[in-house]
Amino acid sequence: MYSALVLAPFFCVLLLNMFFRGVMKKLAFGLALLLSLTQIVFAIFPQTYNWAKFTYIFSNFFKFDFVADNISRVLLLCIGIVLSVTVILARGMIKEEERRFNFINLLLIVLAGLNGVVLVKDIFSLYVFLEIAGVGSFILIAFDKDMLAFEGAFKYIALSAVASIMILISIALLLLFSGGTSFSQINVALKYSAYGPLVMVAMGAFLCGIFIKSGLMPFHGWLPDAYSAAPAPVSVLLAGVVTKTVGVYALIRIAISVFGLYQPVQNALMLIGAFSIIFAALAALGQSDFKRMLSFSSISQVGYIILGFGCGTTLGIAGALFHLFNHAIFKSLLFVNAATVESQTGTRDMEKLGGLTARMPVTGLTSVLASLSTAGIPPLAGFWSKLIIIIALWLSGNYIYAVIAVLGSVLTLAYFLSLQRNVFFGKLREGFSSIKEGPLYFTIPAVLLAVITVGVGIAFPYILNTFILPVSNIFGG
């Protein structure tokens, strides 16, 4: 049944490009939105009987060995939500039909890649789908074909190629060692091996590759350029789900299903996580470009996810997953806000902006909510996930890391307050008096994402019992 999540976008691309292209160009937006909304419903209600009815055609022809546990479902949900926002933004922002059609085709390819990464249980297939998502993203970043976009895309390609080579070397070593590429086969071989030098090299290479892909410090060279130079819908997609799926999720999946939560791996994860939290937050403080600041903020928040996961307890893993979901939502929201500001004022330079809330109340309000949630202010969603991570770190005896997490939160609040003060609060700058609130394709996604952020925060006790604690039950998933 899960094979439909990879095959449906693929067949949609084929369908859109084979016959009646004139009609298909008009249908592309609807089809992409329908696919992403279906994915959201599927991720929330995976057990419903009717899904099998729709997808039996796929399962008859293709015998894919896909599995989805609770972590996969969280990711499928994030991908669905962020992709629908991206599709809506693209519908409004890309005016030419031909370009929009190509854009949506590429989005569907990236969707197939991301869903594949989430669902596979074979390390080589994981690599193949990482590449699909990666290659699709390179093209999407360079979509506007300006110099900065090419530079961002090139940096991403170059570093991603290094990451891919490391991952391939690791896969080759693991294949030599275990005689197979499925997660379970490698896991069993590792259990009886006592972690020799070959395995350590394979693990190290894999982890470094994945750190580059998730843009963690000090492997983050490509990320700020790629995020800030990409077209607005692509920034939302990249910050919302691409780096989380190809980086963080792949890391979590490999650490749990292949390597096992082995102490040196945990230590490496926590160290890199804590380093990213503090240094990316300090770097964010010094930025004057709206999207660049958000990029550094993303690195810092991904640090929290890695730190929570690295502590290895079920509570820590649940907190990491919850923060992953929250971050996908509020960072997408902030990038939507950045896109609105840029499209209405023509600049992203925060030195030139000011007092925009008076003219753009929806954007101003939603960005305050997202910023506060990122900084971990109660009762917004970000507060609860950070709280769980900090409690998990404290309970597992990692007191220093817990303190670093709290300090990072203070730094986050500092740079977001500076952002709010420079862009939205204060006196309206000269020349901006005729500015209006962004069109509906900006405000609708922004309001929906803000509602999710506030709703998840307020309904936390319910969500804790129904979603978060079951998520941590991954070993039985």
Binding site: L106, S125, I139
Partner: protein, 164 residues
């Protein structure tokens, strides 16, 4: 085994040349050359199907794609070509000496390559494995190819229009 090592060395040299050369077209041709050498290695390691894929897709299809894209870009002026050639000759002036030294070393180490090709395995097995066990990877490859097509459409179509 010795021949394999020799081919690997040639492979490394060809890849270094591909990366270091300043002409895009030569880099494209170098890539094709690397793919051909890699295909030979694959043939020798009893993977005829992988070698055929490498030859057809990497050496064939991708090279055609690269060369066609490079042909859309602006060439150098005559003066620039002359300057490049000059700088290239100065850069590679030690190459013949290095080749002679490597040849002498190999001669004194009694390097005698074994030139017999191994008998390829039954191909049915590989196809069987590809379709029955690696079906998902095959679909993944098709999606990546599709993605490449969109890359060319999205990034180069307008340039082609302008060139006309």
């Amino acid at each position: 085994m010795q021949l394999n090592i020799f081919i690997m060395i040639v492979l490394v040299i060809a890849s270094i040349w591909t990366v270091m050369t300043r002409s895009l077209l030569r880099a494209g041709i170098g890539l094709a050359l690397v793919s051909v050498i890699l295909a030979i290695v694959m043939f020798r390691l009893n993977s005829p199907l992988a070698a055929v894929f490498e030859l057809s897709v990497c050496a064939g299809l991708i090279s055609v794609l690269f060369v066609s894209v490079i042909s859309l870009t602006q060439p150098y002026s005559q003066q620039e070509i002359a300057d490049r050639m000059k700088s290239m000759f100065t850069r590679f002036k030690y190459l013949p000496i290095i080749v002679v030294i490597v040849g002498l070393v190999m001669f004194f180490m009694k390097f005698r390559p074994d030139l017999t090709l191994p008998v390829p395995q039954a191909e049915g097995d590989v196809r069987n494995i590809l379709w029955n066990f690696r079906q998902i990877d095959l679909i993944g490859q098709v999606i990546i190819l599709l993605c490449g097509v969109f890359a060319v459409v999205v990034l180069f179509k307008e340039i082609r229009k302008n060139a006309r």
